[in-house]
């Protein structure tokens, strides 16, 4: 040992130290060598039982606020289609009524999610300047905050861009409900798990439109592919000026609104 010591009393020479450093650093790559990462394009060949290939699609929705009449048929159809408890406060989609008054005050209401429509309201002597209905739904964000916070991997983004919840894997911790900036999630009181709009994924993979789109009597909702050249949604984007909810959050929503008022939040 004495022979290794130099005049200053250090026991490891520089050469040995550097050699060990390089060797120990290279061991950082060891786990990657032992467990090589699965190739990312594996999801590309993923095919569901009915022959639907998720990676070939990218779904989005367009909502024309000027066309919505606030009848609430979408809310009713959604609850029926997806067996959502038919009591207040549990909604996968709902319709809000915005009323903006002369004194710049504004109110938003959604009685029972508008499942029974709306009723005319007394305005307390104030004059309404603008009023309109805004259907709300999960925005199926391209950069979803709810997926990031899930501690168990129970909520995820499919290759076709839809955010789903694995009800079997969800532990009901409600982190995702807190994380969603659009309030689109709720805790299902029957299963005690988080639940949300799936774009009616079980219908979409079979070539059907989501229940809310199917039943909208005025075609205020448009469903289609974002990336294909020909799709009802592409036409919707071409003929309308488009806005999304809370764009400053960089969640990149895939639900696009036409004739969007600045009061809409």
């Amino acid at each position: 040992m004495k022979s290794l010591k130099n005049e200053k009393g250090n026991c490891t020479p520089r050469r040995t130290f550097l050699k060990n450093l390089v060797l120990s650093c290279s061991s950082l790559f060891l786990p990657r060598l032992i467990f090589p990462q699965e190739k990312k394009n594996e999801a590309g060949s993923w095919m569901l039982e009915n022959g639907y290939v998720p990676s070939e699609h990218n779904w989005g929705m367009g909502i024309d606020i000027n066309k919505c009449i606030g009848c609430g048929r979408c809310v009713n159809a959604c609850k029926t289609e997806n067996n959502v408890p038919k009591v207040p406060f549990y909604f996968r989609t709902w319709v809000e009524r915005y009323r903006i008054f002369e004194d710049r005050d504004s109110t938003v209401d959604s009685p029972n999610g508008a499942i029974d429509g709306f009723h005319e309201m007394k305005e307390d002597g104030k004059n309404v300047v603008r009023s309109f209905f805004v259907p709300k739904i999960c925005n199926q964000c391209d950069n979803p905050p709810c997926v990031q916070v899930c501690p168990v991997g129970a909520t995820f983004k499919t290759p076709d861009g839809v955010i789903l919840v694995d009800a079997d894997y969800c532990i009901g911790c409600r982190y995702c409900i807190q994380a969603c900036p659009y309030g689109a999630r709720y805790l299902n009181p029957e299963t005690r798990t988080a639940d949300k709009c799936t774009f009616c994924y079980h219908r979409v993979v079979k070539g059907l439109a989501p229940a809310c789109v199917e039943t909208c009597p005025t075609q205020a909702r448009i469903f289609g592919e974002i990336d294909k050249k020909a799709s009802p949604l592409i036409r919707f984007k071409r003929i309308n000026k488009i806005n999304v909810l809370k764009p400053f959050l960089n969640t990149e929503p895939k639900v696009m609104y036409a004739n969007f008022d600045m009061e809409v939040k």
Binding site: G153, L164, P217
Partner: protein
């Protein structure tokens, strides 16, 4: 190798065995708890997608309805309701498609349903056809005048209400709306062409109202009836009751 193991201090040797055991335990528990297909396509259980896809469908879609009901689809195809899916009014139809005779769909025939879309609301888009249902023929169901599969926009009145609109509006609130004008007023010639020359008749006797409102045993429709002989017999009916809205106090 043995020399290397001996060179490690005793306390580290004992600790390393413990650490190794913990690692093995962790790997064992992880393989037990984490489903096999977790992480196959991403940080989630791949079979969850199959479970979500297997959810049953309730709304069959308008194309499915039109396969059998092509006659109604034809009526609807050119009307204002052409884009209103069948299941908006008739309810989810997948069960009916599976078992057409066993599961029957219903149609909303009462007044409450159409106003969901057509009741006047300030928030509704301008130009969308709307009514105030309290004033719009409140005694009649919507389908009495409007064919729901092919509704028509309002037309200029051609009957009595073209000139007598005020009476027609009052009458619309009364049960007497079910009676045609000619039940009480007969046109002696052509009143429509020469209104002043040919004046329609008016009832002149108590007995005319008594045809419906005198007490008899055949009253099945719940018409209010009185004893014609001793019910304020010195007056004629319209001195107290306004015939176009007798419900009014």
């Amino acid at each position: 190798m043995k020399v290397l193991w001996k060179r490690i201090p005793e306390q580290l040797r004992r600790l390393s065995i413990l650490v190794l055991l913990l690692i093995v335990l962790f790997v064992m528990i992880r393989t037990l708890l984490v489903p096999r297909d977790f992480g196959k396509y991403g940080h989630y259980r791949a079979s969850a997608v199959d479970e979500i896809v297997s959810q049953s469908i309730h709304y069959a879609g308008r194309e499915a309805c039109e396969e059998c009901h092509d006659d109604i689809a034809g009526v609807k195809s050119s009307g204002f309701h052409r884009n209103v899916a069948c299941e908006v009014c008739h309810g989810p139809g997948a069960a009916h498609m599976e078992d057409p005779s066993g599961v029957q769909l219903t149609a909303p025939r009462e007044r409450g349903y159409c106003p969901l879309c057509h009741e006047y609301l300030t928030s509704r888009p301008t130009g969308f056809p709307q009514i105030v249902s309290d004033l719009h023929n409140p005694m009649k169901p919507c389908i009495a005048c409007h064919e729901p599969h092919d509704p028509k926009p309002p037309v200029t009145p051609k009957g009595c209400e073209a000139c007598h609109a005020a009476i027609a509006r009052t009458l619309s609130l009364s049960h007497h709306v079910y009676l045609p004008c000619t039940r009480c007023h007969q046109d002696p010639g052509s009143h429509k062409i020469s209104p002043r020359e040919f004046t329609p008749t008016k009832p002149t006797t108590r007995e005319f109202c008594g045809e419906c409102h005198a007490r008899n045993d055949e009253n099945t429709k719940g018409i209010p009836q009185i004893e014609l002989v001793n019910h304020y017999s010195r007056y004629v009916c319209w001195q107290c009751h306004y015939p176009h809205l007798p419900e009014a106090q």
